[in-house]
Each structure stands twice: as structure tokens, then as C-alpha cells.
Symmetry: C2
Subunit: 402 residues, 2 copies
């Protein structure tokens, strides 16, 4: 690997890049890879390139292992003039991460984590997750031929379990305090030589940088005013911001957009600390939201997101389940069906515009983190219309609808 | 639109490109757009291009309307050395169409159909489908702001209905002979100025050409020996073959691969005619297969597929549900979770290799048509393993598994 280090996001202590344990031994805050300050894009036909090849300068690997890739990334940035005019802002664009190999943004971080694990000689990987990340790590573990441990909550229903199990990981339902499992799994990993690619570990954050890189390319290096990210553990928003910062340091863009950390009101530990002007988050005791993919009651990067958003001049906002459902419906009218968590950014934009925090000159990018097919149960909350008709009456019914 | 014509795939009679009715008034066989014989690729950064822009020479539109695109296509071609060695063939690669905006290959044909509809001034579109195509047309109809009629079978369950309904089309459950609905809808369309973008209409076939175009680019214009396509209506395999033919006519590739039309044994009308050496297909009276996405008992392009495969020197094959499930499981071990229909190509390759029809020098591309998340009910047929464990016993359990 190239010469670089991990640094503690809080105290700035330096750690070797070969380490797997993702947190500082002094502050227990997350580590991150030192920022790349001089990189360029490896131009080429993206149909034949992996993400790690195109942006190789921004990763510490000597060489990207093509065999572990499922061709993650290269997701669309879809603009909606109709919606922009409705909201009375300049532009709104959706970065549709549901077009990844396992239909969520998680694949970007997973492939980078697997690349790090393989570089260090690991034969086993794992993760703790009940949704997108479990599916992603199971898929990439299978592709790379690694022994893969997936730890989930004991009460996860079969419709969530089976799409993980089909990749044939070692899938374990763990009966006990799920909140403790994140830290407990890191310890188990340390003892058993298993690389746990959990939600906000440094190389997962590195993978999320590529969302920013692609947005820059797609917008001809004129960055948006705001990027809105549904926020759970905090790994994704950290990665996206770091990506913009590294492109700016490298002279590829002239400014860093403001980040909007968007949470669901029913589980908004980062937002709660932000409005109380506290430096550290507190655990949400009874999380309850339809946006299950971001219902982390004690996000491991929560404090770091508070610090980062302050530095960046960004915003932290929370929206209700009702606002989320309305946004999910409106987003579908743009042809994009996101899971409830993925509608949180649009709900946040609507709210912030109403409060005059966003204005009519703003260009906003919303991150659609995962496919609506992952949470079809949520659709029952919508009042969806279906007509019934006999074949012989069809022509008349359709005629009436015109 | 550029000067070109529809021609009847059977009698070669010519029809104006402005027509919407997709079949010959003499033979009732499908029409197709005349082949493009001189085109080149519009090289550029695919992150910023739509499919219709990159391959504009191969479409009759004066200009692609960017606002109707959800950034379809640009899907991965993922090789599997492990699986190739297991099967004892040279190469096997998977074109993963599940990474499209509505998670199936249908989006390619839908956007081209919508572009044609808009070029002709249509304000209404429709389709007849119970699955992938319904979702796709609903999404693109919403994006383009068109009135969109989706006709489905009366007995479609809510878990299939809701992911269509979320896009807010005019969704109609039709009680009556579903087999007749394809032709009936075309008539209704003719009478009511609705453009029905059904399964194998000419511009849907045009959209599927881009699968071939991308494969050519991804393989550096050295085409595979075989391309295996799960076949239902016949529109997709016709489109992919036409794409290769147009690239060959344009001098971009030196040969056209042999096409393998792969059907599910429980509903294999094209295969049935092929083994009996008949020129026309017969309706399958009681279709029954786990690969529901390709369970069309009377494919509207069935006869044309028979003709085309004969000309092309290709193969038609059918596989059992058991073979499909095994293939779905094996494919997931490569990190790709396809719906049962999408596992049919791998099952077909396995069978044809066993029968020595494929050999160890062959390079084969399998089309993974849609996401496994579309048919999670099928997962209950698998014997999927999940372990249970108390938090305090987790370290020991994991230690035992190493």
C-alpha cells in the first residue's frame, strides 16, 4: 500500500494504515485515512473501468483487484426541472444509488473494505447490519471467496433474512442488546482475525468518497450548493464530504458544497445534539420511524458528524414519517422509487425551503441511498389506487380516463 | 425523425416509421426498424451521456430528449473465472441488467418507446405486463409526465401491485383472458391514441440493441461465442441480436455471436416448436414455472425468434425449475442475486456444456435480466441457513466456525 496513515478524527493521533480496528485508543472516536491532496481522475471508458481504477489516485492501494468488483458506482445523477420549479429552487438532482450491484450505496464502501482486507491478507470479513450493508457484505464476500460473517438482530423477519442468506454467508441472528453489537463485533474481529467492515469504518468512508467524485464529473466540476444525505451511522456523509474536500485540495473543484445531514425525527440523535448545541450525541431510547435503514439510535460517527457539519457550515435537519412518505410518493412521480430513508433528503429540502434556509438560487443534490424494493412493506402506508375492470369493459373505462 | 422504415420480420413489407401498431397487416408477424448499416459510437464520458446519446447513430431520432431519461443502461459485465473453471469453459460473463433504474433490462426498451411516442406527439402510453415491464413503463411515464395505463392480471398480489402503483400510473386489474390482452390493448391504443409499449414492439426491440453495443465495448469489440438470453415474448433476444448485426454491418465487430434462447421447461413454447421442427409456436395451456418473468404462454415474437435463431445458427434450450433454483444459488455465490428468470441462462450453459454443445474454448455471456428483489417469494424454495446465538456466546460460535 501507498504511504499514508489513519488519523483520529478528534485528537488527530496517527495510526498505521495496516490496522483494522477503526477507532482511536484515546478518544474512542472514529479514525479516517489521511486526506489525499494531489490526485487526478484516470480518464477512460467507464464501461471498462472499476471505480477503484478510475479514482486510483485517491486510494492507498498499489493496485485494484478487478476480480473482487461487481462494478459498483457509476450511478446516475438525474435532474428534475419540474420538481425544482415546484419547490422554487434553481436545480434539484438525485444521485440514484439504487443502481448499485446490491441496490444501495453500501457497495462502494464494501468493495473498498474488501480491497483493504485482502491487501492485509485477511481471509474472513464480517459486518453488523439488518439491511443494506448485510446484503452488500454478503455479496462481496461471496464474490471474493472470503468467509463472511453477517450478524443481525434476532427478530429480523424472513423477507429481510432471505435476500442476505441467498449469498450464503455465515448468517447469525444474535439475541441480545443490538446496540452493543457494533463494538462487540470489532472485539471479536480483533481476537479472531476477522475484518469487520462495519458502517463507518475508515475504508467504508473511503468508498463513499466516490459519490462526490462522480457528482463533480457529472456536473462538469461545478459543484452544487448543497448535498443532502440521509444519515444513520454517519459514514456516508463523512465520505461524501471527504471526497469533495480531496477534489478541492487537488484543484479539481473550486469549492466544497454545504452538507445537509438529514435524519428521521423518530430516530435523530445527531439532530437532537445539534439543536441543543451539544458536542456529543446521546442514545435514542425508543427509535421509531418508517425509515428503518437510518434508524441507528447511537451512530458511531455521530460526534464526528457534529464536528464536521460545524466546520463545513452545513445543516442538520429532521423530518417526520409523514413528510418522508409524502416525499417518497413525490420522488416516485419523478420515476425514482427509493426506500423510505432515501426520501428523507427530498423531505428535508422541502422543509428547509419553507423555512427560507434554502433559496431560489440554490442547486441541491439529494442522495437516493437504496431501492424501494428493499422495503415494500412501507408501501402499505400509502393510499395507492388500483382500478378493477372486466376485459369487455376495458375500452370504455380507458376512454373515460382520457 | 431520420428516414427509415418498419419492415415485417416475415414478409418484408415496408411500413412508415410513424406508425405505432407493431404488427404486419398481412402476416400478423412483428415489425422491426430497418437495420442501421453505418453507425459509430459517440465517444464521451458515460457519466454524462444517456444511452440514446452515445448510440445516437443507431436510432432514428433527430435528438434524444434528456429529460425523459433515468440513465438506463451502462450495466456491468462481470466475469467469473471461478465459475468458468468449474464449468470447464473459457469464460463466462454476466451482463447485470438489475442495475437499471427500475432494476430490469426493460428500462432500455421503455425509454426508446417513450422517445418514439413523444416524437409522434403522443400524450398517453401504456403496457400490458405483470412484472418488470409494468414497473418500468410506470416509472418512465411518470418521469415524462405522460398519462400512463398499466394493465395487469386481476389476481396479481399486493406485493407485486404496490411497486407499480407507487409511480402513480392508471393501474387497471383486468378480469378476463390475460392471453388476449396483448392484442386487445393494441386495438384500444389504436382507437384512443395511446401508445402501448408492449413487450416486443419495434422500439422496445431497438432499446435492447444497446445491451449488445455495451457488451461489444466492454469486450474490446471481441465478441463472445454465445450470448444466452432468458426468453419470454422474444423482444429482448431479437434486440440483442439486431444490435450485434448492426455493429457488424457498421464494421465495428467482425462476427455476430450465436444466440442461445433459454426458456423455462414449464413454459417453453419456442423450445417446443424448435424440437418438433415446427415453423410456428403453439400456446402452452398450463404454464407452470418459478421463472414467472418469462412465463409467457404465447410469445408474440415466438415465430420470429424461431426464424432468427435458425438464421443465426443459435440454439434453443429449456431448463427445469430445479435447474433454475440451483443456478440462482450458484449465481448468488458470484455476488449476483438475479430473479429466477435471470438464472435460466446459467442453468442453460450448465446443461449445454454437459451435452457437449458448448466446449472448453467457448466464451459465453449470460444476460441477468432483473433483480432478485423482484421475486423474494422464490427464496422460500431454497434451503437457506441461519444460525441463532445469544450475544454472550457469539465469540465462541464464531471461533468454532473458523
Amino acid at each position: 500500500m501507498k504511504r499514508t496513515n489513519f488519523i483520529c478524527t478528534k485528537c488527530k493521533k496517527s495510526f498505521p494504515i495496516e490496522q483494522v480496528y477503526p477507532r482511536c485508543d484515546i478518544c474512542n472516536e472514529p479514525l479516517e485515512v489521511e486526506k489525499v491532496t494531489k490526485g487526478k481522475i484516470n480518464e477512460g471508458n467507464i464501461l471498462k473501468q472499476t471505480m477503484l481504477e478510475r479514482y486510483a489516485d485517491f486510494f492507498p492501494f498499489d493496485k485494484a483487484d478487478k476480480d473482487i468488483s461487481l462494478s459498483e458506482g457509476v450511478t446516475p445523477l438525474v435532474g428534475s426541472p419540474k420538481l425544482a420549479s415546484e419547490l422554487n429552487i434553481k436545480n434539484i438532482l438525485f444521485k440514484n444509488e439504487s443502481q448499485n450491484p446490491t441496490w444501495s450505496f453500501k457497495d462502494r464502501g464494501t468493495v473498498v473494505g474488501v480491497q483493504h482486507a485482502i491487501s492485509l491478507g485477511y481471509k474472513c470479513i464480517g459486518t453488523v447490519s439488518t439491511g443494506n450493508m448485510a446484503v452488500s457484505v454478503a455479496a462481496y464476500g461471496a464474490k471474493a471467496g472470503l468467509t463472511t460473517f453477517i450478524l443481525v438482530r434476532a427478530d429480523l423477519p424472513p423477507e429481510k433474512i432471505n435476500p442476505i442468506a441467498i449469498y450464503h454467508p455465515i448468517l447469525i441472528k444474535v439475541d441480545g442488546d443490538y446496540g452493543k453489537l457494533y463494538f462487540h463485533s470489532l472485539e471479536i474481529g480483533r481476537q479472531n482475525d476477522i475484518y469487520f467492515i462495519n458502517s463507518d469504518v475508515p475504508f467504508r468512508v473511503e468508498g463513499c468518497k466516490t459519490i462526490a467524485f462522480e457528482i463533480c464529473e457529472q456536473m462538469n466540476f461545478e459543484v452544487p450548493d448543497y448535498v443532502v444525505v440521509p444519515t444513520s451511522s454517519g459514514g456516508n456523509i463523512r465520505g461524501i464530504l471527504k471526497g469533495f474536500e480531496e477534489f478541492k485540495l487537488s484543484g479539481l473543484i473550486s469549492k466544497v458544497p454545504k452538507m445537509i445531514c438529514a435524519q428521521a425525527r423518530g430516530c435523530s440523535p445527531i439532530y437532537n445534539a445539534y439543536i441543543k448545541n451539544e458536542a456529543t450525541i446521546s442514545r435514542v431510547e425508543t427509535p421509531h420511524t418508517i425509515a428503518q435503514a437510518i434508524a441507528n439510535p447511537y451512530p458511531p460517527s455521530g460526534n464526528e458528524v457534529l464536528r464536521k457539519i460545524k466546520d463545513n457550515g452545513g445543516i442538520i435537519v429532521a423530518v417526520t414519517d409523514e413528510e418522508i412518505l409524502q416525499a417518497q410518493k413525490r420522488l416516485a412521480k419523478e420515476g425514482i422509487f427509493g426506500q423510505p430513508a432515501s426520501a428523507v433528503p427530498l423531505a428535508a429540502v422541502k422543509k428547509l425551503k419553507k423555512e427560507n434556509i434554502l433559496n431560489e438560487n440554490d442547486t441541491v443534490v439529494c442522495i437516493v441511498t437504496g431501492s424501494g424494493l428493499k422495503s415494500t412493506a412501507a408501501l402499505e402506508k400509502h393510499d395507492l389506487k388500483v382500478l378493477n375492470c372486466k376485459l369487455e369493459d376495458l375500452n370504455r373505462l380507458i376512454g373515460n380516463k382520457l
